[in-house]
Symmetry: C2
Amino acid sequence: MSHQRNRQHGREQQQQRTRHPLRLVPLGGLGEIGKNMMAVEYGEDIIIIDAGLMFPDEEMLGVDLVIPDTTYLSDKLERIRGIFITHGHEDHIGGLPYVLPRLNFPPVYSLKLTIGLIGVKLREHRQLDLATLNVVDPTTSVRAGQFTVSFVRINHSIPDAVAVVVRTPVGILVHTGDYKFDYTPVEQPPADIAGLARLGEEGVLALCGDSTRVESSGFTPSERVLNTTFDEVFAHAPGRILIATFASLISRVQQVINAAEQHGRKVALVGRSMVNNAQMAIELGYLRVPAGMLIRAEDIGHVPANELAIICTGSQGEPTSALTRIANGDHRLVQIQLGDTVVLSSTPIVGNERAVSRNIDNLIKLGADVLYQGNLQVHVSGHGSREEVKLMLALLRPRYVIPVHGEYRMLAEHAKVAVEMGVAPENIVVAEDGDVIEVSPDSGIEIVDHVPCGNVYVDGLGVGDIGQVVLRDRRLLSSDGVLVVVVTVDSDTGELAAGPDIISRGFVYERESEGILDGARSVVERAITRHTQQRGHVVDWNFIKNKIRDSVSEYVYQQIKRRPMILPVVVEV
Amino acid sequence: MSHQRNRQHGREQQQQRTRHPLRLVPLGGLGEIGKNMMAVEYGEDIIIIDAGLMFPDEEMLGVDLVIPDTTYLSDKLERIRGIFITHGHEDHIGGLPYVLPRLNFPPVYSLKLTIGLIGVKLREHRQLDLATLNVVDPTTSVRAGQFTVSFVRINHSIPDAVAVVVRTPVGILVHTGDYKFDYTPVEQPPADIAGLARLGEEGVLALCGDSTRVESSGFTPSERVLNTTFDEVFAHAPGRILIATFASLISRVQQVINAAEQHGRKVALVGRSMVNNAQMAIELGYLRVPAGMLIRAEDIGHVPANELAIICTGSQGEPTSALTRIANGDHRLVQIQLGDTVVLSSTPIVGNERAVSRNIDNLIKLGADVLYQGNLQVHVSGHGSREEVKLMLALLRPRYVIPVHGEYRMLAEHAKVAVEMGVAPENIVVAEDGDVIEVSPDSGIEIVDHVPCGNVYVDGLGVGDIGQVVLRDRRLLSSDGVLVVVVTVDSDTGELAAGPDIISRGFVYERESEGILDGARSVVERAITRHTQQRGHVVDWNFIKNKIRDSVSEYVYQQIKRRPMILPVVVEV
């Protein structure tokens, strides 16, 4: 309340009276690659930077997506002044359809293409009418409570990527988003180095900087180097050319279209997200396609092989993507034919290596010539390498550094680079999701608290209804299957009336292993008989169930060293 | 029979009378990394090269190991003259305990260390008395039916690695095993380049060559380069040094011991396989450890931090390995302390990236300084790069080439290199497991047949009892769990006597989702009631079960878009 009144006096006065620390609460992306989200607080005001999703790893069985846990914000909804998005990749915008409703739809701000991509996503989730989407450009700034927020262009593997500049009563915070410095970018302006330098001169209190590729020495090559690659591929490919890449990699799609134009090929887009994103990018002016060049995927049969290029999704081996279907020979429209050249224009994200490798093998077996990062430079990263991380630090000269966007080891490595660049070690915090970081010009930077903050799993329509118990059960079920043991027991005597019957799934191939199941049946019979003999007429159903579970589990483990889940079903008659 | 008689006449005569093609039947390792095994046949004689295992990928749920399918050999047991092993790595010897009993224990031949490692393995499986293990050295040769088999030293990341030279009535076959050319190896002689060159001059009919690293340009660095790395690490580490590597990488262990000697540190070995392998290697003279240097893992607390080095397993992030336990803070003997330096002296094998990355993160969080391939050269490969593949082709000048040991794309790339080296394209066969390859000096090389040959899964004590059905069920169970629907039905009327009850595991967190389970119960009730009304007294149990399965499945999918496995249990009373 006092804040409200204070704010009516001059800003200067208010600052001196209630000089709060700046609080940063990363809710995703620190200690992991994905679901980037950070809350920035000053006094009563909160803004959020990004709200991404993460794809599940192999231990999150059956999970479709992972989104940030926003519990920390749930009692602070009226204080949220807006969500500022750095760029339109899934790990920065993909959480919005889940997070926005939980946060009461605060206004969302970003550049044109990013807002366009968010719009497509919210329309799919029927939230477009509920959300407030604001297109901002880098020359303007947004007032959000006591914050003034603006954007500075950087380069990334999607146009309209920006760093977020947050002016606070205690100083400037810069959040880089994902960035590289590309002096010769494709179809996007170079990073605004002068703008960053000006911020550095003005004085930057704290920097949250991308750590993804800090382990790679030197500079990440420019997108431009791929022009040569594509030119060469298009000049020599005897038949059709299929290029798989990320649907969001608009500049890569542009490069392919440029090469197709130069070498007189038609282009077909294959894969739902590729078609949608390209359409959006064309409408908003981010993708230039010569008239008459695009053909429908249904018509690829009508174009001679050496006059056709196909751009498709699936460069990460995603199971239901276009390229995976093509590699498995079960795509509705595209079948590999001899003379096809397939280009995988991406590198596998950690965890996808096997799927990508399987696709390459299958494509080669079908007769395609496959070009991938192993045998040609077909991809450059969108993240800056170590020297670019240094350049960012040199331009901004921040007092405090909080490495973001990376596995813990990358954050730690980023911290080392910051020390090399002259930042005092006590001014750097390597934090994790849920840490509450307080920054103040006077008393330094420190982690003052840790708030609940984990993975929220999305599985089908369920959001957050899957926790460690369900995942542990799925893990058990996946490793040795399940045995359902059904016994019918006389409710008066506790004696077996029928059964035991055993249903197994995922345990052994039943027909070949009747012996073990027979043995298990005998074990159950003995267990129940012994129990009823011991206890007479007092029947303790839970005791019987536990007895069945333990005795079958032990028997099966002895016989075959497997530990299926045992589900006893006791029916009283 | 006629062969038996023929063989008593002179060899020359027999050759002219029955000139068979040489048949190669790869049973593992072609189109995959792992479970290497190849059958070589001439007339009535069969020999086998290697019998490895493969670790399961993420789709082989609950599987412990994968071994080659030897069905093809099952009706040819009397024709098998021996198994020749190239070196002692798991993907070359790990299948032996499973394969030997199925093949009636043919004699096994290899060099001393390899036979030592096989012995350890067979002892664990209580097969040592049944097997015939023969130590051979590279100067002698073994008569095996019409084959004469000898070994040529190459370099690999384990001592006593060899290529297998098979002299057949129609010419010489060379199988390289895993190789690199290391001109300055550690504690092992350099590859026998002169011996390979002599074979080339004599004339090589066919080459089966390692393809693992053919995608990497240039030469693989010598093991020796790591001496500098270890020297530097040992010179600067302020506290304890933990080095994780493969237990079989004897030379790497030797390098660490040498560095420890030079810098005055004691060494403890941690991890069962590390201890066993080192012991074996010391006994056989492959590992030199200064007296008094080795200490028991139990005693590491008694040695000052800066006088201790620990060599442990777990460089691949294996879940139960020493390093993973240490990184998780639950190792019995080793807890990370501030000032520890951990070196991961290996690169992650495809599929292990996430596990390795998690270990690194956890170790850093515990306060260790972690050195890994990302920030220091801590590992060199045991496989030769593209130029070494060329050198092998240049030395042997084979007429026919069959790339082995690699994913399909690596085999295809190896074929391209062979063409570059002047081998006629029609003389190269890119084959897969189970292909039957016929080679003859007169009529070329071709794939003439394909025999059943897939993965045999080992899970607990079960070998081969898990097939596609069980794995599919495990996949289903892992993705959305299981619902057991129990109904008790009056056997006369078909009407519900009790229930329906639903037990769920791995589906939703039951307490929070009672609504769905209640709904499913109503659906079952309705389905059964409708059925009994329609059919009167004729009760078709299978129909009821299917009805339950379908109606619950549909209801659940509508409600929450998940597809758990539905197991109906109908109890008649």
